[in-house]
């Protein structure tokens, strides 16, 4: 969506390799989020950030780390990819308690 982009949009990687997904926003929103979406589970929060260098864990954080060195960028790293991390990853940004705006998603396949 306008104002928030994700890269790459598609990635295939091998088990055991590190992977970094990037989220970039141009709206100067304070909050940013990483979710994964899987059939039957819906959207599950991995990590979130409430400011530069301020991050915290979500519901499914094991095997993932994040960094936010600038307001506009939020990186998600899979330290050692596993097949269970094959999923669609969405980044979101938000300002108010009632708004989160999502990026277009990254389809990650771990073989």
């Amino acid at each position: 969506d306008a104002g928030i982009t994700q890269s790459p949009r598609h990635k295939v990687t091998e088990t055991g390799t590190p992977v970094t997904l990037r989220c970039h926003q141009t709206e100067n929103h304070r909050y940013m989020y990483w979710y994964r979406q899987d059939p039957g589970h819906g959207l599950r929060l991995i990590h979130y950030s409430y400011g530069v260098k301020d991050t915290d864990k979500g519901e499914v954080s094991d095997g993932y780390s994040v960094s936010r060195s600038k307001t506009e960028d939020f990186l998600l790293t899979l330290e050692s990819a596993t097949s269970s991390q094959t999923s669609v990853y969405f980044c979101a940004m938000g300002g108010q308690i009632y708004e989160q705006y999502f990026g277009p998603g990254t389809r990650l396949t771990v073989t």
């Binding site: 909050y31 819906g42 929060l45 979500g58 108010q96 308690i97």
Partner: protein, 112 residues
């Protein structure tokens, strides 16, 4: 038990029908209630939000919240084929990260 429950469907209706989509929740502290629409292979799009109990209307869409029953609804009037998508409910409470709690989504198909 999940904090937010949503019937996954699928739901199939003829064009022009009134559609009712629902979610239930268990956490009485939720204050804001959101509805998202997600087209296939796209990111979720915020449709509307409601604060506390009551109704909110936006064009063909009406959101209702009944906090006493812990039940929220989204009504779509005069449904169109372009409304075919997955609809997700979400809820939030004031906390450090303004976290949302999502339902799993209901798949809707509107048949021309």
């Amino acid at each position: 038990q999940k904090e937010v429950e949503q019937d996954p469907g699928p739901l199939s209706v003829p064009e022009g029908a009134i559609v009712s989509l629902n979610c239930t929740y268990s956490n009485s502290a939720f204050q804001y209630f959101m509805w998202y629409r997600q087209y296939s292979r796209k990111g979720p799009e915020l449709l509307m939000y409601t604060y506390s109990s009551g109704n909110k209307e936006d064009g063909r869409f009406t959101a209702q919240v009944d906090k006493s029953s812990k039940y929220i609804s989204l009504f779509i009037r005069d449904s169109q084929p372009s409304d075919s998508a997955t609809y997700l409910c979400a809820m939030s409470v004031q906390n450090t990260g303004n976290q949302f709690y999502f339902g799993t989504g209901t798949s809707l198909t509107v048949i021309p």
